[in-house]
Symmetry: C2
Subunit: 227 residues, 2 copies
DNA sequence: GCCAAGGTTGGACCGCCGGTCCAATTGTGT
DNA sequence: ACACAATTGGACCGGCGGTCCAACCTTGGC
C-alpha cells in the first residue's frame, strides 16, 4: 500500500566501482569543503550519487567513516616524521605537521581529541614515543612525557580547530581577549598585565603552538630522570 | 483538521517555578546520570515534566545549555583556586581540581575542549594566568605558557573523559597498549622499550596527569624569560 | 474586586539525522 | 545459458533540535 516500489529502471550497475577508498576520499572532500557538520550520510550519498545501503555496505557507521578519514590525513603526516637525526627536531616537526594538517582540515582536530583510541592517535603515539626514547627518556618518565605531549598536541589542535570552525572574524576574538585582560587587571592591576594581555592579542597561533612544544621539551629535559 | 487541540485541562501553572537555574541543574543531573548522549531536550522536558517551549523560553539552545552546565561545574572548581601562597602549588591544585571535576563529570571534559570561547574556559585562563604572573612569567612568555598549560589540561581532560565514556572494561585498554608496545619494539627492539610499555600499562591516570603538569611547569621555569 | 495585558507554558509540528531492510539488478563461475 | 552471490538504491523507522501558537496564570491599573 504505502510502499510503491517503482518498477522503473533502477540499479544500473555503476561503471566506477564504489569502494571503501572512494567513500573515504569523498568524505574527506566533503569535510574539507562543508565542515564537520556538513558531512551527513545523506549528503555523502548524493555526492557519490548512490543510495544509503551502498555506503553502509562498505562502512560500518559514521564513526568508523570519520576515524578512517582522520587516519587518512594523519598517515600522510606521520609518514616521514622520524626522518630527522635530532629527536628534538623530529618531535617539533611531527608536532608542526599535525598542526598544519589541522589548519588545513579543522575537523581532524575535533576528531582526534574526541576518540583517543582510534588508529590515528595510535600513530601519533608511536611517533612521539619513538622520538622520546631517542631523547633518552625511559621508564615511567616515558609514559608521562608521551602522554603529556600527546595531550598537549591534541588539546591545542582541538582548540585551534574550534577557533577556526567559528568564523567569528576577528571581532569576537578581540572582545574575548580584552575581557580576559580586564579580568586579570582586576586581580592584579599591574602594568605588566596590560602588556601580557596585549601580547595575548596579537600572536601567531602556529608560533604559539610551537612555543608550547618547546616548553614541553624543556620540561622533559629538566624532568628526564626524576620520579 | 490535523490539529486537534484538546480542550482538556492543560497548562495548570506549576507550583515550582521553572527557572534557568532549575533547568541547568536538571541538565547537570541528567548529564551525570545518563551521559553526554543522554541529554536530549526531549528527555529534559520529561525530567522536568514540562514542554519544549518552556525550556526554550529560558535557554536559547542546547549549546548554551551545555555551556551553562559546564560553567556551573567549573565555577566550583576555580572558586578557591588561587588561595595557595605558592603559585606552583596553586596551579597544581587548579589542574587537579579540573581533573577531579572531569572524573566526576566526564561530559565536562568533552565540552571544555570543544568550545574554547565559553565562559568556563575563560575562568580557567584567568586562574592559570594569574598564577603564572605570580610565578614571574610575563610578556609573550605568559601567553605562551598559559596557552600551553591550558591546552595540555583541556587535552588531557578530553582524553580522559573519552576514555571514561567508553566503558571498554580493561581488556580494550590492555590490548591497545600491548599493540603500542609491540609497535615500538619493532622500531627499536631494545629491552628498555618493553619496560616503557609495561610502565604505560599500569599507571594511575591522576598521577600521570599531574606528572604532565609538572613537566610543563618545569618547562615554564626553564623558559621563563626567553623568546 | 475586576478585568485587560502580557509573561509563561505545553505540545503539535517541521525538517533533518543515522541506521535498517529488502527487492531489484547486475557480473561472474560453471 | 543460468543460477548465485555481491552489490546497489530507496523506502522506512525512530528520534533529534528547534519553531510556533493557543491556552493558561499572574499581575497591575482602576
Amino acid at each position: 500500500m504505502t510502499n510503491m516500489t517503482l518498477p522503473t529502471s533502477r540499479n544500473t550497475r555503476r561503471s566506477d566501482a564504489l569502494s571503501r577508498e572512494r567513500i573515504v576520499e569523498a568524505a574527506v572532500e566533503m569535510l574539507d569543503t562543508t565542515g564537520e557538520g556538513g558531512l551527513t550520510v545523506r549528503a555523502l550519498t548524493a555526492h557519490l550519487s548512490t543510495g544509503r545501503g551502498a555506503i553502509y555496505h562498505h562502512v560500518a557507521n559514521k564513526e568508523e567513516l570519520l576515524a578512517a578519514a582522520t587516519d587518512d590525513i594523519v598517515v600522510r603526516v606521520t609518514a616521514g616524521a622520524g626522518d630527522d637525526e635530532d629527536p628534538v627536531r623530529a618531535i617539533r616537526a611531527l608536532a608542526l605537521g599535525i598542526f598544519d594538517a589541522i589548519d588545513a582540515h579543522p575537523w581532524v582536530g575535533t576528531q582526534l581529541s574526541r576518540e583517543p583510541q582510534q588508529p590515528a592517535v595510535f600513530r601519533i603515539w608511536t611517533g612521539v614515543g619513538t622520538q622520546l626514547q631517542r631523547l633518552g627518556v625511559s621508564g615511567p618518565a616515558l609514559a608521562d612525557a608521551g602522554s603529556a605531549l600527546i595531550s598537549y598536541v591534541l588539546g591545542a589542535a582541538a582548540q585551534y580547530a574550534a577557533g577556526a570552525r567559528r568564523v567569528t572574524s576577528d571581532a569576537d576574538r578581540t572582545a574575548y581577549l580584552e575581557t580576559l585582560a580586564a579580568q586579570w587587571a582586576q586581580h592584579d592591576p599591574d602594568p605588566i598585565v596590560r602588556e601580557a594581555a596585549s601580547q595575548l592579542q596579537d600572536h601567531d597561533d602556529r608560533e604559539q603552538f610551537l612555543a608550547g612544544v618547546d616548553i614541553f621539551l624543556a620540561g622533559v629535559s629538566a624532568t628526564k630522570t626524576r620520579r
